[in-house]
């Protein structure tokens, strides 16, 4: 990489280059959508697992922890086989669309939110649940209150999932296909632009991604240190 590419990257950043902004916007949009979907599904499930005793709970919990480290290309492959023309959901024609990326990233984020919400909430005082029952709360009121009491754990779970999803390249590449102005994200762009020798855009996008990651980590640290939560 040469000096010109570096200067060009700085120029792209300072000028808020249209393509740079569009790609960044795509990345954030996909990651926000998939994290939101994962949060809506996983948070109530996490409450349920944390406060209910049932057969096979231990197995489920260790499965959840294992799935947290799911390789992105495996998720890509899995969703690809579902959405591709010959797959069971091929008729929807979702392949290489933003929806496909969001589905793949949701699958990735789901176990992360579930696992972290579960472990955060199970560290709450076991007497919380009994207190809510004895004060006469309905199941829905209990869940709402537990989430409120464990809000810092829930927020860190969601932030962590967002951080993972926004920086992953496997599913976005396999399911989105890096289509310019359509499904191209920061990570897929960096991977392909670098191969083509177009360093300037890669460097600029790399800086943006670092800033996002830094922001997420800063948020997590703030929650844990200043709001007395546990990750």
């Amino acid at each position: 990489m040469n000096r010109e590419a570096f200067l060009e990257a700085v120029r792209l950043l300072l000028a808020l280059d249209r393509e740079l902004v569009a790609i960044t916007f795509n990345s954030l949009r996909f990651a926000l959508a998939s994290t939101a979907i994962a949060a809506v599904i996983s948070t109530p499930l996490g409450v349920l697992i944390a406060f209910r005793e049932f057969a096979g709970k231990r197995l489920l919990v260790s499965a959840m922890h294992t799935l947290m480290g799911l390789p992105t290309v495996v998720v890509g492959l899995l969703v690809f086989s579902l959405l591709s023309r010959s797959g069971p959901l091929g008729g929807l024609g979702l392949m290489f669309s933003p929806s496909a990326v969001v589905i793949g990233q949701s699958v990735l984020a789901l176990p992360i939110v579930l696992s972290l919400v579960y472990s955060g909430l199970s560290r709450l005082d076991p007497e919380l649940r009994e207190t809510l029952v004895t004060l006469g709360a309905s199941p829905v009121q209990r869940t709402t209150k537990i989430l409120r009491e464990g809000r810092i754990a829930v927020a860190s779970a969601i932030l962590t999932a967002f951080g993972r999803v926004v920086g992953e390249v496997g599913t976005a590449m396999m399911l989105g296909g890096n289509i310019r102005w359509y499904t191209r994200t920061i990570t897929t762009a960096i991977a392909l632009e670098t191969q083509k020798g177009a360093f300037a855009l890669s460097v600029a996008l790399g800086v943006v991604l670092l800033l996002v990651a830094f922001g997420v980590n800063f948020g997590l640290n703030y929650l844990i240190r200043f709001r007395g939560g546990t990750a």
Partner: protein, 326 residues
């Protein structure tokens, strides 16, 4: 009238290996508007019984009748919500959709009852143990429960708070609330209990002390004071200053004799035997009327030698120093 009636209650955890039930209570009735105190060592089943009464645990067999609806339990280390004292106390009403004016009024009253009016806007988690305990009691009181259950309400808190909590519980019982609490704080138990319920290894255990309500008459001279029982009878006790309301005499410390004993013990009280009951393999409990009820634990052999039976007149003897004041 009983507020709570227990019949043939047993409880064990579903995954328990042991054959014996963790808790086994053949019969127990708790009267309306009284304070009942569960006593016994750690692990004797006090907390388990309270959770059964609160409906947080389901009996393995038997029945618990709580005529007045489900009681509210205040835990030993209450869980307070991460919000203000006021919000904590208001929450049970909020989830019931109580209107704003009524809610405010009931929360204010509950906070006043536990003496925390000035703490309403404080962050609940920043309070001391005793203050937290009182917030938890207020949070239960807003529901105006007919039965209030408390697990060790005076064990993790400072001395001043113990007195406040005791006063609050007395006042509640006076207003008709039935209070059932556990404690291993003897002083609290004797001062508060209308009924002592000793438990041992999950079973009701015999009561081994006489608890007499009354007043300390004078601080005493030569280490001896006088205590007047509410029935009007008097006994000698250790000299003491302060406001004591209860005298406690262990049943084992009461000696029975046919004639008045010429001894160093200060208390010689004539009385009539009311009942004789086997306490365990070794001991018999003899209930006397000495112008106030007084019980003694004696051996089977003594019962035979003194021909103790209902109606027999005897003397009860115990040292002034055997009387403990609370």
């Amino acid at each position: 009238m009983s507020a709570i009636r227990i019949q043939e209650l047993t409880f064990s955890y579903a995954d328990s290996q042991s054959r014996q039930a963790l808790l086994e209570i053949p019969h127990l009735a708790i009267s309306h508007g009284t304070i009942s105190v569960l006593t016994g060592d750690n692990g004797c089943g006090k907390t388990t019984l309270l959770k059964l009464l609160a409906g947080l645990l389901i009996p393995s067999s038997g029945t618990i009748d709580t005529a007045a609806g489900p009681p509210v339990l205040v835990h030993q280390r209450p869980y307070l919500f991460a919000e203000s004292v006021r919000a904590n106390v208001a929450w049970p009403l909020k989830i019931r959709g109580v209107k704003r004016d009524e809610l405010r009024e009931r929360v204010d009253r509950a906070l006043a009852q536990v003496g925390l009016t000035r703490f309403a806007l404080r962050w609940a988690l920043s309070l001391s143990g005793g203050e937290k305990q009182r917030v938890a009691i207020a949070r239960a009181l807003v529901l105006k429960p007919e039965v209030l259950l408390l697990d060790e309400p005076t064990s993790n808190i400072d001395v001043a708070s113990v007195r406040t909590v005791e006063r609050v519980l007395r006042m509640l019982a006076g207003d008709g609330t039935t209070v059932v609490m556990s404690t291993h704080n003897e002083a609290s138990a004797y001062r508060l209990a209308d009924e002592l319920i000793p438990l041992a290894a999950g079973r009701p255990a015999p009561l081994r002390v006489n608890v007499l309500q009354g007043t300390l008459l004078d601080p005493g001279v030569n280490h001896i004071g006088r205590f007047r029982v509410t029935t009007g009878a008097e006994m000698f006790c250790p000299a003491a200053t302060g406001s004591f309301t209860h005298a406690v005499v262990r049943m084992e410390d009461v000696i029975l004799s046919q004639h008045e004993m010429d001894s160093s013990a200060q208390n010689h009280l004539p009385g009539t035997v009311q009942a004789v009951a086997t306490a365990d393999d070794e001991l018999v409990r003899v209930d006397l009327d000495c112008d106030f009820p007084l019980s003694a634990l004696v051996t089977h052999r003594s019962v035979e030698e003194l021909s103790i039976a209902p109606g027999v007149r005897l003397y009860a003897t115990f040292k002034a120093s055997a009387v403990r004041l609370y």
